[in-house]
């Protein structure tokens, strides 16, 4: 079920009504059944997979917490991580590795074709496997208490607002909240609705409108001029932001209404002044997951400069691969890894230069924001392109500056609409520098009705409707 579908419009009010009229385990059971219904609406066959992962990690969690033997704790953690990664690996990466292996062997001059299996990628698999892994790892590290209720644990894994596209909620944050019988609260309801509405504006108005331009450029890049392709790339940068941030906001807003706090997942990432700053603002739940469960265990920055650089690159390469089974994602991750390394090398020199030349801080920040955005958009080309050759074609065509006349741009009115929406988004984020935009009304409660009216009007005038799926569903 999609948040932006008619089915959800029927599902959610009914869910809300029953949710607030029940308590305790009945409510939790209802949440679990509803979450399975929400997920099964897409393909019920994969409910078994969630249930399997839930069961494995629940019982291994109990073993990890109950035993004092380090060897057994380690073994249990290994089995837990192995099962999660094996399931993820099979569904997501099996064909990719087979194809890559065959390609490698063919390059050696040996004709070989392994064939592929027609495997459907279960929606949200990358999210719920990471969520269950974080649970057992945290248990192993004795950071959290074991969850003895299967019902509560299963609800933590499958809770519908964040099941299919995040945010990746940690057990330490979410499970304790399941023990409270949240009552209906008007303030939370109002706040949640505002966040949901802003999420819909980001998704249906911003992302889906920009998609019309960006998708056509990436589908057949050879049809478009340099300027057209450049516009396509910039639009994609905002499309993926609007799409993913929109989904997260809707999930967070639904959670808020129900009484849960998921934290924030995006914090105006295109205002970042460094790449490490960018990763503290973009998909925060994933980047913090990668930091806590991959980068730091690899050694983080504790073993000298070279090891730090290797750790950064490894983390970002795997982060790229997490997004999808394609070399374009690996390159995207690799580029971000390189950016982080270069930032560590160049950063001190840049800061010294700024101090010596006495360049105003605001000017320096503007330059950095522009640079980070440009390099991030460059990396998005690999992320979005259907193949490596398409990505290279787009880059060479843009760099050639062959036809930069505005008259060479196709769909000018869609481009105009896109520019208006990007400007609107930019202004909204600029005026809320200290807090994400939907939270700005917290300072002035009387603004809430106006905020709702403006969001509804924006959706009405700029919304692109037609059940457009969220980009991150494919990850």
């Amino acid at each position: 079920m999609l948040f932006n579908s008619l089915e959800f419009l029927v599902f959610f009010p009914i869910f809300l009504l029953v949710y607030f009229t029940t308590k305790g385990n009945v409510r939790t059971a209802f949440c679990l059944v509803s979450s399975y219904l929400f997920y099964g609406w897409w393909d019920w066959r994969f409910l078994g997979l969630i249930l399997l992962l839930t069961t494995i990690n629940f019982y291994l969690g109990i073993i990890i917490s109950k035993t004092d033997s380090d060897a057994q704790r380690k073994r249990s953690l290994f089995v837990s991580c192995f099962c999660s990664l094996a399931i993820l690996g099979f569904f997501k990466y099996f064909n990719f590795f087979l194809d890559s292996l065959a390609e490698g062997i063919n390059k050696l001059g040996i004709e070989w074709n392994f064939g592929t299996l027609s495997i459907i990628l279960p929606v949200g698999i990358s999210f719920y496997t990471f969520q269950t892994m974080s649970y057992t790892i945290d248990l192993y590290r004795r950071k959290i208490e074991v969850e003895n209720s299967f019902l509560k644990f299963a609800t933590f894994v499958a809770f519908f607002p964040q099941l299919v596209a995040g945010p990746i909620v940690r057990a330490s944050t979410f499970i304790p909240q399941l023990y409270h019988d949240h009552k209906f609260d008007w303030k939370r309801f109002g706040d949640g609705m505002c966040i949901i509405l802003w999420g819909f504006v980001m998704k249906s108005a911003v992302a889906d409108s920009l998609a019309l331009v960006a998708d056509s450029r990436f589908a057949q890049p050879y049809l478009y001029s340099s300027l057209s392709l450049l516009i396509g790339v910039i639009f994609y940068s905002f499309q993926i932001y609007g799409d993913f941030c929109g989904y997260s906001l809707i999930a967070i807003g639904i959670g808020r209404i129900l009484g849960y706090d998921f934290g924030i997942n995006f914090n105006r990432p295109y205002f970042a002044i460094s790449f490490s700053d960018f990763w503290q603002r973009w998909h925060i739940s994933l980047s913090s997951w990668l930091r806590d469960y991959l980068y730091i265990p690899l050694g983080g920055n504790r073993h000298g400069r070279i090891r730090t650089h290797i750790n950064l690159l490894t983390t970002m390469l795997l982060g790229g691969l997490w997004h999808g089974a394609n070399w374009t994602f690996v390159i995207w991750g690799g580029l971000h890894g390189m950016y982080l390394i270069l930032q560590r090398i160049i950063g001190p020199f840049y800061n010294s230069a700024i101090n010596i030349l006495k360049i105003p801080k605001a000017l320096s920040h503007l330059f950095l924001i522009f640079t980070i955005f440009t390099l991030t958009s460059f990396a998005w080309i690999f992320f979005r392109a259907t193949s490596l050759s398409d990505a290279i074609y787009i880059i060479t065509e843009i760099i050639s500056f062959e036809d930069m006349r505005f008259s060479s741009v196709n769909n000018k009115f869609q481009v105009g609409k896109g520019l208006i929406l990007i400007t609107m988004l930019f202004l909204c984020e600029a005026i809320s520098f200290s807090k994400p935009f939907p939270h700005i009304k917290d300072h002035c409660p009387w603004l809430k009705p106006f905020f709702i009216v403006v969001c509804l009007l924006t959706l009405s005038l700029f919304g692109t409707f037609g059940n457009n799926a969220f980009i991150y569903f494919q990850f």
């Binding site: 008007w186 109002g190 009115f413 005038l461």
Partner: protein, 293 residues
């Protein structure tokens, strides 16, 4: 309890505020678009009084350059074609044209609009209040969108057409034509070796017959034309002869001028389906030679 009532009242007040703002904004938009010089808005203003009227889809837009035809024929020419416009939608606009303006002497119909569906309704929904025909089609074919325009009047302006209305607020859209030239690379690599043109839709054939009946009633001479295709693309069309015979059968003795191969030079095209400005200029000579003008 008091708090709940207060909050429910705030919700109702918010919805009311939305309702009022939505209606007010939609009203302003309607006033603005009435002043626009885009082709469809001009229909309802009246006083177009063209002697030559052109109607069709995007091939009608880019093949017939009204200002040059007007210069050559010395007769006021107006192009009512629009990207993706089906015959059904075109017929409704044609009816509105005749209702609000004096009948033209000649109607040039670019016939490939017989293959188009009514997707353009999403784009022209802002005219559903002004046009009974468009309103009826919109309600019948896109009931969800129709309902959405009733809930929120501004939704009617959620389209590219509204942006075009704003763009052409103070200038004519009759000079709208592509000036791009198709890339040789594209001809060599991306033009299909074999293609098919969608066969005329039943409802469009009926609409065309109605359009011809209206011409008959108002003493308008109707001429059906097939505008040029890029030669390489035309050669790849497998069912073009079948397509033409279906059209010929539907229109009885109304003349059908096949100019699909009138232009041989690829520099006259912006893509496989559309001529550019140079092509449109060349086409005027072909139209004169064939007795269309």
């Amino acid at each position: 309890m008091q708090k709940a009532i207060r909050n429910i009242l705030i919700c109702i007040a918010t919805l009311f505020l939305f309702f009022i703002t939505d209606r007010a904004v939609a009203h302003i938009f309607q006033e603005i678009t009435t002043q626009s010089k885009i082709r469809f808005s001009r229909i309802y203003k009246g006083n177009i009084d063209a002697k030559i009227l052109i109607i069709g889809n995007s091939r009608g837009v880019h093949s017939f350059y009204a200002p040059d035809i007007q210069k050559v024929t010395n007769q006021k020419t107006f192009n009512l074609s629009y990207n993706g416009m089906s015959t059904q939608i075109a017929t409704e606009f044609f009816k509105d044209y005749l209702e609000n303006n004096s009948a033209p002497r000649l109607l040039i119909i670019e016939t490939t609009f017989l293959r188009d569906n009514n997707n353009l309704l999403k784009n022209v929904k802002m005219y559903s209040k002004r046009s009974k025909g468009i309103g009826f089609l919109f309600k019948e074919e896109q009931p969800k969108s129709y309902l959405a325009t009733k809930l929120s009047n501004t939704y009617a302006y959620n389209s590219e057409m509204f942006f075009r209305n704003l763009y052409y607020l103070n200038k004519t859209d009759q000079t709208w034509i592509s000036r791009k030239v198709i890339k040789p690379d594209f001809i060599n690599n991306a033009v299909p070796k074999s293609a098919n043109i969608n066969l005329p839709r039943e409802e469009n054939i009926e609409a065309l017959k109605e359009m011809l009946r209206l011409c008959n009633k108002h003493g308008i001479e109707a001429k059906l034309v097939i505008a040029p295709y890029l030669p390489e693309y035309l050669a790849s069309l497998q069912n073009f002869t079948e397509w033409k015979s279906i059209v010929a059968e539907a229109i009885d003795d109304t003349p059908l001028y096949d100019l699909s191969d009138a232009l041989k030079d690829s520099n006259h095209f912006s893509d496989t389906l559309h001529t550019n400005y140079n092509g449109a200029t060349e086409l005027i000579d072909a139209m004169k030679a064939n007795g269309i003008l």
